[in-house]
């Protein structure tokens, strides 16, 4: 079976996101892998919110531009998308079909979306059961809401006279996570203790989820305060993080430098959205790679991780805290709107295998020196209360006293700048072929979907763009053809590769705020 694409569209406030989530999870229950990609303008009511739900019998599902089925809740919304159809396209408008009427009769106009899902299930030829079970799961704590939604789905199902019958997929126990949800699982796994988050798309749901967790959450007065408070909490002994997008991170840069200089571990989740400046606030981007690698005056070590799917969101979400603590450096977790807010599916392996690793001795120190010279450059970490701990944003001596001495400066710079020398890994290779496709971050699933149908390509996925992986340099120097695929205007990873390999690479770029679509990528790569 080819991937099948459904679009739900309606005004903001009509529950498109929720419906998309329910639909994709119900399809998971039927054994299909799914992608749910939401697109919405920066407004809370009205307009055109739409979600794309693509399902497939195989893992790795890319977004598509051409859809097979449209269900719009409003004439305007219908008009917006009616020309996006594939061959065999079916388009429906909910008002005309009586979905709003069903909802009104049931006593809650808001369940029109659920009635629509019932209709879709019938059109697709699936039994209603999986959808009912999904609704029951979602509203298990609210009996009345559950009932009215189940009823709505049933009534919607009856509208269509379709007689088609379809087979279910083969997947078992398929899980469904947004990038942010998987990231939060990783954050919790790593025993993060403190999160300072000022709201900003696309990291808002991290704030919401962590607020309900055991993590101490601080909503600061601005991002500068958020970064500083997180550094304070880390200095005082908690694993700490911030989450923001480019605009907020711009405000945090001075604090980032302090983390580098004072060697205070910190995890910075930076969810990219379209810039520059306010850009397109609710659209995606991969244009902040240069920014996070270079942000801050002076030179200091940092690690940039760029998860590409929910498995990596989880694994790197946890590993970021281990690395920050191990090397006493800032670790930036670079995600984007597409990865953060879309929902992906997997078969359960994704959320396994990460562990919490501790690198500190919780003992009472005598004559403690925060910045002691050591063989590997990493000074033992203690927290105030354990010892007198002096952290310093000014150049300092071993004890943390401010110090302008030339020799001390040179030794301290050497120590800090060489801390990461034993880092390895940072990338993964898929497929076989003479042409190497290179991507980073959220293009991973999309390129893997491309590989399902197109042979002869090697795919190098870079999940740690900085420090740029030595192993990737060795590979890229010695292959015939390199095509770098990324969601920005200039090709920022491509520049990095050229800088480190001294070779030229080809660039497939896109900077319109949307993810690469399957067909679009094929057109660009197979031309």
């Amino acid at each position: 079976m080819k991937n099948f694409a459904i679009k739900l569209s309606g005004p903001a406030g009509a529950g498109m996101m929720q419906a998309g989530e329910t639909l994709s999870k119900a399809l998971n229950r039927l054994g299909f892998y799914t992608l749910m990609y939401p697109e919405y303008p920066s407004r809370i009511r009205g307009g055109d919110n739409h979600v794309l739900v693509v399902f497939s019998e195989e893992k790795h599902v890319a977004p598509v531009e051409k859809i097979d089925l449209l269900l719009a809740f409003g004439k305007e919304n219908y008009r917006n998308h009616k020309n996006e159809g594939n061959e065999g396209f079916q388009g429906y408008e909910g008002e005309e079909l009586g979905l709003m009427k069903i909802a009104k009769e049931l006593g809650n106009p808001l369940v029109a979306n659920t009635a629509g899902l019932g209709l879709i299930f019938k059109i697709l030829g699936f039994e209603l059961k999986a959808l009912e079970e999904q609704i029951e799961e979602e509203f298990k704590e609210k009996e009345a809401v559950k009932k009215i939604n189940v009823d709505a789905a049933g009534k919607g199902y009856e509208i269509s006279k379709s007689k088609s019958k379809s087979k279910s997929g083969n997947g078992k126990n398929i899980l469904n996570y947004s990038g942010n949800e998987a990231l939060v699982e990783g954050i919790l796994k790593a025993k993060c203790g403190f999160a300072a988050i000022y709201p900003m798309t696309p990291i808002n749901s991290i704030l919401t989820m962590l607020s309900k967790s055991r993590v101490q959450v601080f909503r600061p007065e601005d991002e500068i305060a958020g970064m500083m408070a997180a550094l304070g909490a880390s200095y005082a002994g908690k694993r700490a993080m911030i989450a923001t997008s480019g605009g907020g991170f711009s405000l945090m840069v001075e604090g980032l430098g302090m983390a580098g200089m004072a060697e205070i571990p910190i995890v910075c989740v930076v969810g990219q959205r379209t810039g520059p400046s306010t850009g397109m606030a609710t659209y995606s981007s991969q244009a902040d790679l240069n920014f996070v690698i270079n942000a801050g005056q002076g030179e200091f070590p940092r690690i940039v991780l760029a998860p590409g799917d929910i498995g990596e969101c989880f694994r790197l979400g946890a590993e970021a805290f281990n690395l920050a603590e191990c090397y006493q450096v800032p670790v930036i977790l670079l995600t984007d709107k597409y990865l953060a807010e879309s929902r992906f599916s997997g078969n359960g392996e994704e959320l396994k295998g990460s562990e919490y690793k501790n690198y500190n001795d919780y003992k009472i120190y005598k004559n403690y020196k925060r910045y002691q010279f050591t063989e590997d450059g990493i000074s033992p970490m203690a927290f105030p209360g354990q010892a007198i701990v002096r952290a310093n944003s000014y150049e300092h001596d071993e004890e943390g006293f401010s110090c302008d001495d030339k020799t001390n400066r040179e030794k301290m710079m050497d120590r800090r700048m060489n801390k990461l020398s034993d880092l390895n890994g940072g990338f993964e290779i898929f497929g076989k072929g003479k042409t190497v496709l290179v991507g980073w971050g959220s293009t991973k699933e999309i390129i893997l979907d491309f590989l399902k149908d197109n042979f002869g390509f090697n795919f190098l996925h870079i999940w740690r763009p900085w420090p740029f992986p030595q192993g990737a340099i060795d590979i890229l120097r010695n292959v015939e053809r390199v095509i770098v695929i990324e969601g920005n205007y200039s090709g920022q990873l491509a520049d990095l590769i050229e800088r480190f390999t001294f070779r030229k690479v080809e660039r497939v770029l896109k900077d319109d705020g949307r993810p690469f679509y399957k067909q679009e990528l094929e057109d660009k790569l197979l031309k």
């Binding site: 600061p220 007065e221 500068i224 408070a229 550094l231 908690k238 105030p384 007198i388 944003s393």
Partner: protein
């Protein structure tokens, strides 16, 4: 308890910093805080240039950002005695947003502002606390603006302990810092001090010392001639 270090003190001879440092050590001694359990988060400026001079846990932070760092320290480990300290340039001019919000939340930290009315370390430009008409390196014709008062900002924002003292009155300053660091909730101590280089003749200690805190905030706001613990709730 010994809070002395072996480091050279770099303030100018006659700088009010010396008086303040003695008062801070007195207060910590009286409150019986072990050096490892006191965290002083230093701002950036002359007065904040003190990480080398006090032997407690401490952090030399960023200009204007000592308060939010201190807030994070206290949230993570409430057993620590946490102080944010710096000049009025850092804490009021650059960092006023943090000052008013920490006061609003009544964060359990002490903020000590050494107010010498100018950016001293950057060679004497006008800060937002510089008196109107005062000539500085950035206001050769005289400062055109009415000054901002840290005491006023903290009061209207919800601070639960607000005091003003004079750096050379070491005894009173020691006692006031002691009260502030043992106060539960947000405490602000504004230390008025001359800078012998830039504001030598500006600072006069005129006005009245409060016997006890006032109850009505409006009796305090806008008055720079009241000294002592002005408000406590």
């Amino acid at each position: 308890m010994n809070y002395d270090t072996n480091q050279e003190i770099t303030w100018c001879p006659g700088c009010a910093g010396y008086g303040f440092l003695t008062a801070l050590k007195n207060a910590l001694t009286k409150a019986n805080v072990e050096p490892k359990d006191a965290v002083v988060v230093y701002d950036i400026g002359c007065s904040a240039n003190a990480i080398n001079f006090l032997n407690t846990s401490g952090v030399a932070s960023l200009h204007g950002r000592s308060i939010p760092f201190a807030v994070g320290v206290k949230m993570a480990n409430p057993n620590l005695t946490v102080i944010a300290q710096g000049g009025e340039g850092g804490i009021v001019t650059e960092g006023a947003n943090h000052l008013i919000h920490a006061a609003q939340r009544n964060d359990d930290i002490t903020v000590i502002i050494n107010n010498n009315f100018v950016f001293a370390l950057t060679t004497g430009q006008a800060s937002s606390a510089t008196p109107k008409g005062f000539k500085t390196r950035s206001t050769p014709e005289g400062n055109p603006h009415e000054p901002l008062s840290a005491v006023d900002l903290a009061l209207v924002s919800g601070a639960s302990f607000v005091a003003r003292t004079f750096a050379f009155d070491i005894e009173k300053t020691s006692e006031i810092i002691y009260q502030a660091i043992t106060h539960k909730g947000f405490s602000l101590v504004e230390i008025i001090q001359p800078c012998v280089v830039w504001t030598k003749d500006l600072v006069k200690q005129e006005g009245v010392w409060m016997k006890k805190p006032l109850e009505i905030k409006l009796d305090i706001i806008g008055k720079s001639n009241l000294w002592g613990v002005l408000f406590k709730s």
